[in-house]
Amino acid sequence: MRRLVDPTIIAILAGALALTFAHGLMPGWVIYMLQLALAAALPALGCMILLRSGLLTFGQGLFYFIGAYGVALTQRHLGLTDAFAGLLLGALASALVATIVGTFLARYRGIFFAMLTLALSMVVYGIAIKMDLFGRSDGLNVSRLTYLGVVPGREWATPALFVFCIWVFAVAAVMTHLYLTSRFGRMLSAIHDNETRVEYLGWSVAKAVHVSFIVAAVLASLGGTLAAAAARYADPSLAFWTTSGEFVFIVLISGIGNVLSPLFGSVFLEALRAYASTHFPDEWQLVLGAVMLVIILFLPKGLGHLFVLAKRAVVRPVAGKSLPANAKERS
């Protein structure tokens, strides 16, 4: 029961509650930006899980795409406008795809894993822009959502979606936190340190990587559903590799310390995008790339690491805490 009074979980729930009741106080553009940030934080959370075991993925966009089309296609072909139906179908489809391709990918590490996930999402992108089912390069529209039979009126549609986004993120973040603090989740960092030792301890590294790949895929698809619902359309560029690159960028900014870090990173990214699109409308990639390089060169553990450094200056360091850092250097 100790884990239920975990400060991270309390922070997530308190934050979600506060935002739920604060929606009336925020201007429309803040709400829209927060929705996009929440949607992007979920696939980034998936990237973070994989990065815990040292795996860089350029394929989260694929599952983001599946999640977005999960809601678009259930509306179009099943006639269901229910938010939960779209969310669930997208997540199931993602889990299925991740289970199948994961059997192949779980053997690879480092650049192989990164480039194979990239190739996979580019294949799907290549198919999607040519298939009528996915609306070719124009994409599909997403109409207004209903929630378990409740049809919000015109003025309540935006707040309802906002609250939905917040709670989907909150629930996903709490679940991910429980996963990462479980024995199975703690093994991920051990895999990053030394796979062979993990195998000697009697765990299957391939299985652990496969499971976290599936978890990451489901998280990405939840994000995709939220993004499609917020932007009211889904298009194949969600599977394009630069979309996946943005999710890695988010984790790079925020670091991999906590399940809330990606949200911090994605808010930063959305703010940067808003700033760049007014000042440098055609040079978005240039700005993004330059910020990435500066962070890699000067703050390789992410902006979030600034907090860790600040905390370390205030709190007296515990003697045992320095052990993992040494272990990493030796491997």
Partner: protein
Amino acid sequence: MNQLQIILIDGIQYAGWLFLVSIGLTLVFGVLRLLNIAHGAFYALGAYVAAYAIGLAAQNGFGTGVQLLAAFLGAIAVGGLIGVLVERTILRRLYDHPEVITLFATYALFLMMEDITKLVFGGQPLYAFQPRNAFGMAQVGPLAYPVYDLLTVVAAVLVAVAVWVVLNRTRTGRCVIAVVNDREMAASMGVNVTAIMVATFVAGTALGAFAGAVTAPKIAVAPGIAVEVVVLAFAVIVIGGLGSIGGAVVGALVVGIARAAATHLAPDFAVFAVYAVMALVLAVRPYGLFARPLARKI
């Protein structure tokens, strides 16, 4: 002429192009242990410089020879120059970082270079068909092929021979091979490892730009041509084994012929052909055909 011969001719043409775009990537990986995603951006840069140079030469009334010479020299010079800059200012700070970080740094470089190229040359597509048209068509059996496309294969063979000769028949090349095999041991034998690494990176980016210059007369040079190249070149070199020159030749032939076969026999699956071959090879040999097995860290 039967279908098999047609597939072979198409496949070899495509393989020649694939080899040109991937040789620089595999060379850099072999020596620097760095997968340069920005390689695609150097390819695009080379294509832009070449298209611009050909246009300029044609406007001033120069013939095909001068146009191509200007295109190739210009692309190699610009590619090499930017390569030195990038290596000296950014990449050399990252060599002791984990490989995923350096991979991501080259991705950041890719994004920046793509936008800068667009800023310099504009967003409109450039066309440089003059040299390809000037060479005309050649009759191979009942089919006509552009001579320029056939010459691409010759260029690929020449580049392969040149790289082989430099690596195996010169002192510098021997040093490069020594660095590939064991960086520390090479350094302790007096090889200037840093100089070898810089030279290889520059050669790699110049080769990437050269591949772009060769391709420029065949395509509309427009933003977005870089991405496909990164993924294809990676598929080619991963089939052969990262860092292996012979592997790049075999990978290019396998992918080229597979793609040509798919285009003729099952056009709907042409997009998949490359990746299907890659998945098949990796299922049997997880790190490519000619990759040396790595010792596991305990």
